[in-house]
Subunit: 350 residues, 3 copies
């Protein structure tokens, strides 16, 4: 099980005294503030005239290795309908792999079009990996699904995650980009909010699961609200979005801000109530199973292999996070509950 609760973009260069300010703070983040995936952003987050500096910053900060606990995935420039941008993107991938390839898990490619365009991006990664002398197949690719063409080809694009697909299965992640997507479709925020694109999210979750790649929701950009003269961080609205994404099985959420990272890291962990409920259901089910019946009723709910798997998912997620971030599980759950989760028999025996 791979952890990708948070996909935090950080502009690679900003017009401040320290142009790597956001990159520095993201790389120094700890605990719940540290994203599982950190994305130094050379695309829309960095101004046109600062792209070169963004690339330098990224290399400078990663060169020689970093302490950072998560995966590092720079986002490069790209667009399915702009060959010039794609050339710049390829150049960025080559430069990054050459200089700091060992520190990276892969690259994030935005604005991909139909499946052939994603295959083109895979070829770019493959050539850059070889040119940099990195181990064959070590560098992965995630794409932002934010064009009508990519949504139309989503099923075929997701299949590029399979080992026998073009490029040997480098595709590792599908990330939703709602702002560009809404603009492409001509959608409107009539009452102030963009449509939620529930159908797309359901399909993203399904196709990612069918091909064992990671699915991540889109950014929430109304970071702050104002009420009666006071501006505050918009915590509830972001949490609502992340909860909806978690419910339909997205693996993680996009973060634009450290507080969003804290929230998404937390929400993509089972709540203490969920963990207590599912640990307890498995415990009671395992007891009942000893008596030899297939369908057992626990709290008025029939438990069969399928229901059981849902409970076991909860426990497996906690175990994976615990192995990597024991401080986080300690923070959220009772020690005794963590121990019960670790000890539990989560095998359904046929």
């Amino acid at each position: 099980m791979r952890i990708a609760r948070t996909f935090q973009t950080a502009p690679a260069a900003v017009p401040k005294e320290n142009t790597a300010k956001y990159l520095d703070s993201a790389l120094a983040s700890e605990g719940f503030s540290a994203p599982d995936w950190l994305v130094p952003d050379l695309e829309d987050g960095t101004a046109p005239d600062m792209k070169a500096e963004g690339l330098e910053n990224t290399i400078d900060r990663l060169d020689g290795g970093v302490e950072f606990s998560g995966e590092i995935w720079p986002r490069v420039q790209w667009a399915y309908d702009d060959a010039g941008l794609r050339d710049r993107g390829e150049e960025e991938v080559r430069t990054l792999f050459e200089a700091v390839g060992d520190e990276l898990t892969g690259v994030v490619v935005p604005k991909v079009g139909r499946v052939a365009d994603v295959e083109r991006a895979i070829d770019v990664v493959e050539r850059a990996e070889e040119a940099a002398g990195l181990p064959g197949g070590s560098m992965e690719l995630s794409v932002i699904v934010e064009t009508a063409a990519a949504r139309s080809d989503l099923r075929d694009i997701a299949m590029l995650g399979n080992e026998d697909a073009h490029g040997g299965g480098r595709l590792a992640g599908l990330v939703f980009g709602p702002v560009d997507y809404t603009a492409e479709l001509g959608g409107r925020a009539i009452d102030g909010d963009r449509p939620r694109w529930d159908g797309l999210l359901e399909a993203l979750s399904n196709e990612a699961s069918a091909n064992d790649v990671v699915a991540i929701g889109g950014p929430f950009d109304k970071l702050f609200e104002e009420r009666a003269g006071v501006t505050y961080y918009n915590a509830p609205a972001y949490a609502d979005q992340v909860e909806r994404e978690a419910a339909v099985g997205l693996d993680g959420s996009w973060s634009l801000y450290p507080k969003q990272t804290v929230q998404a890291n937390r929400i993509h962990m089972p709540t203490p109530t969920e963990l207590e409920r599912d640990v307890s259901k498995i415990e009671r089910f395992n007891d009942a199973k000893a008596e030899g019946t297939g369908a057992v009723t626990v709290d008025g709910q029939m438990v069969d292999e399928a229901t059981f798997k849902n409970f076991a998912n909860t426990v497996e997620t906690v175990r994976t996070i615990h192995a990597r971030h024991p401080d986080q599980t300690r923070d959220v759950y009772d020690e005794a509950l963590v121990d019960r989760a670790l000890d539990l028999d989560t095998d359904w025996q046929r």
Copy 2:
């Protein structure tokens, strides 16, 4: 028009004095308690160590013929990612067809994967039918859509319902399996409820209709609720789910329990209000039609061939149920209303 209002699974063996208790009661059910499709369950409803007994029970109870008014569709073991389970499933199909094939409409195969896996299941049915000396093409197949792979291939899987498809169109039904499906996608019941997967249900209804196969919703397993110390049958929540399924055009709903069967049989019949409304609209429309206009307004709604077809659907459904279960239509509608429905001219004449 085929009736499949209810798809009731009954564990084929349970650890009680009479291990066929649920099978016996389902086979003896009458009136609204009798499902249109009865599914003796050899898969998740029967404990691993009771599979053989479940198979024996099913054969024993069906051998020599039964009075049961509906179709009988055993669910066998199967999984797209487990060859051992598929072998056991094939063995179960062969044994069932050999012993009681004449009593069966077909078999239900769970946990299918991509379209090639469903074709594999079709081949199993075809071989077993031949081995048992049953008429060629007489045994049908329904599958549970409960994996990301099956959802991804849903369009192609549904096309197996066409006569010119692999196996000659044996696929007769598509049934949703939300529990396994949610587990596969990593979905979460954050507020206690699984996501509804509205996109999947809409697609299931569409692809079933496009290929003339039956579409059936998933089980509702919170059979009972407790309030202030009293446990009660969760009638409203199940009815809500069945109504949503009926609205989007699913032909039937999954039942785990006789009271659910009563409710789903009722909800998948037009209500008296719907029948009165649509009979009356057709009557008034037919009168207006005599005056020779294409678009007629009845109650402020324009009625053309398309609207008319919706009204006629209501009437046709009632006629089909009436032909098979006159006791049920008598129970639900005024005798005079049934007579009007039977007498009505539901032909749209171009």
Copy 3:
């Protein structure tokens, strides 16, 4: 940018003294009452025994040219499962193109099935265009998506809008037909309303955008409501539907009635608030851009190229409507705001 805010069907013949009454009033409509696309309806809106008269009326009214400000798109007879109807439809297309082809933008073909059926309709248009001696490729095709087969093949059907597709990209519009669609799927108006088919609308918007064709919502046929003895035009319910369609990026809405046309023309224009908001955001963003940062926060919302495109869409829509209907923009917006929208730099410079 093409305008298709309204798709108004007008029965081509009705049993009144002037059988072309609705056609005449639609052709004479002005201002917000005039649809962007006017659809003389030879299909469901015209009675079976008045089809010939409907065709005559259409030709008679268009012959010699009309003042009408929008595009004219007759709907002919057709059904994927009825060869006789298709023959009549082909005959209608030929007659129309021969007599008044110069006045038409194209034809609307209903009840199409899978992609092969739409290709068949394209061939009909191509042959009729040639027979009538019209410029090659001048006549377009829009189809009503109202069968399960067309929904199943929607992705491939939409691709017929591309220049390199069958027939050279004649497909120009995809229009939803919810009444026939609901009847085909066996959907039910249990609480009085048909399902909204949100998944289909999302897909329609996406596939239209991916192939640069126009997407239009379905008719709303509850034109009138009665309350306490008074019958009134159902303005709010229609507006709600049109707003939902606009939000998910449909280009226009179906109108059955002049007041619906007024409403849909208005709703598919940005509101004054939207225009003021987006013009102001671009103005402030352009100012901030001069300082050289990629991601700028305006009103607590991060603005990057993607967000910017959404604002620019609003402005472009207003400019397009203004070029064609300056009376409409004058009616809706302050003159000063229109001037700001026209003057604005909406180029995102990389």
